[in-house]
Symmetry: C2
Subunit: 219 residues, 2 copies
């Protein structure tokens, strides 16, 4: 076993200088997929190293412990991907309520069940690590807060542009919409049945229509 690792590392690279940032990104991407297909507590550093072109030393240089790697996964991969997957695309739509429904259709409705049955990377870590490690809890709660805050901002923009009713609490609605995203993932993972997406989508649309000044714009 030790011999194999040692012979592997001869063909592996020790990154230097400006390559450090790329190394970090590559290691974190490999960690992301390992964690998604198993769990954080279930993964090994060796399995991650095996999925990168780098040595174990290069990994430890940047992430002295497995927890450091987990924390960086939340802060540098998961939190930013909330913005690029679930917030930025909504900004393309004049009416943010239309954008929310569009992204749900694209990212969950049109996704393969093989991927969906793994669940949401953020939600999985919340369920697994939030109760057992306070450092994880703090960073996962910050990621959820960020999502809610940005969604709130989009609903406020919708209010200013006249698409969203003025008398609703955008904070309450944003919290509920983010909860629903995690709920979509959790329920599809639990039932392992894509048809449930249509039920949930129809019901969420009716909730969003209730927030809209012109409900027919979401039909």
């Amino acid at each position: 076993m030790a011999k194999k690792t040692s012979s592997q590392s001869q063909t592996k690279v020790e990154p230097r200088g400006r390559n450090l940032e790329e190394t970090r990104r590559t290691i974190l991407q490999a960690t992301f997929f390992e964690v998604l297909s198993s769990s954080f507590q279930g993964i090994s550093i060796d399995a991650i190293v095996a999925k990168t072109p780098y040595t174990k030393g290069a990994l430890f240089h940047q992430f002295p412990t497995k927890l450091d790697l987990g924390y960086a996964l939340v802060e540098e991969v998961i939190a930013p991907s909330i913005i690029t997957r679930w917030i930025d695309p909504i900004r393309v739509f004049q009416n943010p309520l239309e954008g929310i429904l569009h992204q749900l259709q694209i990212l969950i409705g049109n996704e393969d069940l093989e991927i969906l049955k793994l669940g949401c990377p953020l939600n999985n870590l919340v369920q697994e690590m939030s109760p057992v490690d306070s450092g994880f809890h703090k960073r996962l709660a910050a990621a959820l807060d960020l999502w809610i805050e940005q969604m709130d901002g989009e609903l406020q923009r919708g209010q200013m542009m006249g698409f969203v009713k003025k008398d609703i609490s955008t904070r309450d609605a944003a919290t509920f919409i983010v909860m629903a995203h995690e709920g979509f993932y959790g329920t599809i993972k639990g039932l392992r049945d894509k048809r449930v997406f249509d039920s949930l989508y129809g019901a969420l649309r009716s909730y969003l229509q209730n927030l809209a000044t012109d409900p027919s714009s979401l039909s």
Copy 2:
């Protein structure tokens, strides 16, 4: 270690005859609390036995493997408790929509954060075990289906009694409401903040008002 177990077992009981059913219930209750405060994969049979007055032999007599114990936990504790906690109490209300809000307030809104931060027993097992064991998946999906089906029945009763609009899909609404229950637990667990309950409750009430023939009955 072996000595300790052996001396413990001298004071422990070997159940017989009609006590078998009570033994089973006691063991499953102990399992429930162990799993809730850690996880299924994280618990040991020894820790469960230590929380009961019975011997390890008595446990193995009824549950030959840890998986048998886990499956029985879902079928004999978790699924029935969905009915007694979330469905039966709704039946007390003429208007099921009022009953749904009342139970959320009682069972989540008025619950201690120390309990809530452990999450929902069903949701935790779905997240942890559904992707890794097909026997768990099948039983957990059946429990979720049961909850949705019974909630659907309550909404149909609401339609017949004139409280729920006739032109809505009760199945879609029931799926969404069950998803929201799991989402309430998951979000409060993630943020570890009880104030989020009020946001989610307010938004779910507005969704339910949208299903009601008389929205003011839910204000």
